[in-house]
C-alpha cells in the first residue's frame, strides 16, 4: 500500500530547520578538526591528521576515554535496573502509583546544574547529608570521601546522574509495560508460569523496544553528561572524573585548541554510534512479535 505523496511535505519543514541550524554548524565544527584553530583568532591553518595523532598519544584523553566508559557502564546498569524494577511495581493505575511516579520524576525537571549543587552538598565529607546520616545510624565506618577519593568519585557522580533520570526512564518503562495486552499475561499465568517465567517469556520480549530506547538513550546521555561533572568535580581530583565531554570543553575553551577539541568530538561521535548500534542488535529491538 503506497503511502501518499503528501508525506514529503510532512518531512519538509522539520528537515529544513534541522539541516540549516544543526547539521550545517555541526559539519563546520567538525571541519575544524583538521585545522589548528584556537576558537578566537580570525585565521587558522590546515594540519591534516595532526590533531588525531596528538589525541592518540594524549595521556589526559586516554584517561577521559576510560572514565567515560566507566561512567557510562555504571549509569546504564544502575539506571536501567532501578527504573525497570520500580516500574514493574507501578503499572497499576491508582492514586498511589500516580503520586509515586510524579515524585520519582521530580529530579528530572531540575536543571543538572542544580542537581550538581544539591549532590555536592549531599556528598560533602564533613557537613553533607550522606555521611551525617551514616554516622547517626551507627554506620560511621561506612562514611567515605565520596567525591574526593580518586577511585570512588566517578561512581558517586554516576549515582547522582542516575538519580536525576530514573524517574524519566520509569515513565518510558511504564508506557511500555502498559502496552502489553493483559490477556497475554493472564494466559501465561493460567498456563502455570511463575512470575519470573512470565517476565522472561512474555514481558521482557515485548518490552524490548522500550528497553532498547532506555538503554541507548541513557548511554548517549551519560556520554554527553557535562553540567553534572563540571559542577560537582570539574574533572578532578587528578583527572579521575575527567570524561570525554569535559575533555572536549577544556580543549575548546580553556586550552584554546578548538581543532583538537573537534577531533575529540569526531572520536566521540564514532564511539557513541558504535555503542548504540551494538545495543540495538543486542536487544533485538527491531523485532517485535506478538
Amino acid at each position: 500500500m503506497k503511502p501518499g505523496k503528501s508525506l514529503l511535505l510532512f518531512f519538509l519543514p522539520g528537515t529544513a530547520l534541522y539541516l540549516g541550524l544543526f547539521v550545517y554548524p555541526t559539519l563546520t565544527g567538525l571541519f575544524y578538526s583538521v585545522t589548528d584553530w584556537d576558537g578566537l583568532s580570525p585565521s587558522y591553518r590546515f594540519v591534516g591528521a595532526d590533531n588525531y595523532v596528538s589525541l592518540a598519544g594524549d595521556i589526559v584523553f586516554r584517561k577521559a576515554l576510560g572514565n567515560s566508559l566507566k561512567f557510562m557502564l555504571a549509569v546504564v546498569v544502575l539506571q536501567t535496573v532501578a527504573s525497570l524494577a520500580l516500574a514493574l511495581r507501578l503499572t497499576r493505575r491508582n492514586k498511589r502509583t500516580a503520586a509515586l511516579r510524579a515524585l520519582y520524576f521530580l529530579p528530572t525537571v531540575i536543571s543538572s546544574v542544580s542537581v550538581g549543587f544539591i549532590w555536592t552538598f549531599v556528598y560533602d565529607p564533613s557537613l553533607g547529608l550522606l555521611n551525617s546520616l551514616l554516622e547517626r545510624a551507627e554506620l560511621g565506618n561506612w562514611t567515605q570521601n565520596w567525591l574526593g577519593d580518586m577511585k570512588l568519585a566517578i561512581f558517586s557522580v554516576a549515582a547522582a546522574q542516575a538519580w536525576a533520570h530514573i524517574g524519566q526512564m520509569i515513565v518510558l518503562f511504564v508506557a511500555g509495560l502498559q502496552a502489553i495486552p493483559a490477556e497475554l499475561l493472564e494466559a501465561a499465568r493460567l498456563d502455570g508460569g511463575t512470575r519470573w517465567q512470565v517476565f522472561r517469556r512474555v514481558t521482557w520480549p515485548l518490552l524490548a523496544p522500550a528497553a532498547a530506547l532506555v538503554v541507548s538513550y541513557t548511554t548517549i546521555q551519560s556520554f554527553k553528561a557535562f553540567d553534572l561533572v563540571f559542577t560537582m568535580t570539574g574533572g578532578g581530583p587528578a583527572y579521575s572524573t575527567e570524561i570525554l565531554s569535559t575533555y572536549i570543553y577544556g580543549a575548546a575553551f580553556t586550552n584554546g585548541t578548538f581543532g583538537l577539541a573537534s577531533s575529540a568530538s569526531v572520536v566521540f561521535l564514532l564511539l557513541v554510534a558504535l555503542m548504540t548500534y551494538l545495543q540495538f542488535r543486542l536487544l533485538r529491538a527491531d523485532r517485535v512479535s506478538y
Partner: protein, 269 residues
Amino acid sequence: MRWLGRFALAFYAAVVAAPLLLVVFTSMKTTPQFYADPIGPPPAWNFSHYRDLFAGQTMWRYFGNSALVTASSVALELALAGMIAYGIVRSGRRLGGFLFALFAAGLMVPSQVNMIPIYALMRRLGWTNSLTGLVLVTAAVLLPLSVFMLTGFMRTLPKALLEAGAIDGAGETTLLVRIALPLSAPYLAATAAFLFAIVWNDLLFPMLLIGGKDKLTLPLALLQFRGEYVTDYPMLMTGVAVSTAPMVLLFLFLQRYFISGALAGSLKG
C-alpha cells in the same frame, strides 16, 4: 516477596525526597543560619529570600520569557517531529531508514562542537538577540531526540488501522490527524514532558543567544547568584525552588493524560 517491592518503593521515595527537602530548607535560612547548620530544618519558616527574588518586576518578566520560549519550542517541536516521525513510519525502508538515521545521528553530537558555529551562523542572520531565534535553534537541536522517541513510539501503532483508513480513501493528512495523533496521545504527552524540562532548564543556548536584559530566561537570570567565589546558597536554592515549581505543577497536570491515554484501548476495541 511483596514487602520487598513495597520497601523498594518507599526507600527510593526517600532517596528522591531528601535532597529536595534540603533545597527547601536551605531556601528558608539566612546565610549565617545556613553555615551554622547546613542540613537541618530551618529555625523558622523564613520567606524573605522569596520576597527578595520577586521584589523587582523583573522576576516575572524572566518567568514570562522562560514560559514563552519553552511553550513555543515544545509546541513547534511536537508539530515538526510528529510529522516527521509519522512520515518515517509510513515510508518504505529506504527513505524511512535514511531519514531516521539522519536524525538519530544528531543525538550523538556534543554541544561543544556546534556551539560556536551555531552562534556564528545566528550572528550572520542577525538573530543574536531574539527569542524567535532562540526558539528556532532550540527546536532544531531537539529534533534528533524528538524524532527518535516519537518514531519509536509510532512504530507500535497498529498498521492495520492506517491501512484500513487508506483503503477507505483517506489522504495522509487525514490519517495523521484523525488516527495516528489521537492514538499517540500518551506518547506525545510523555515527549512533551521531557522536552519541557529540557528547554525550561536550558542554559547553553539562552546564554549564547540572548543579550538584552529584558529577554533573559530564568536559568540565565539565576546565574547572577553565582558570583566569582561567592555562592549564595540560600538565594541559589530559592532560585532552584522557584524555577522548579512550575515544572512540577505542569507535570502533575499532564500526568492524568499519561495514565488515561493507554495504548491498549484501540487494540481492545
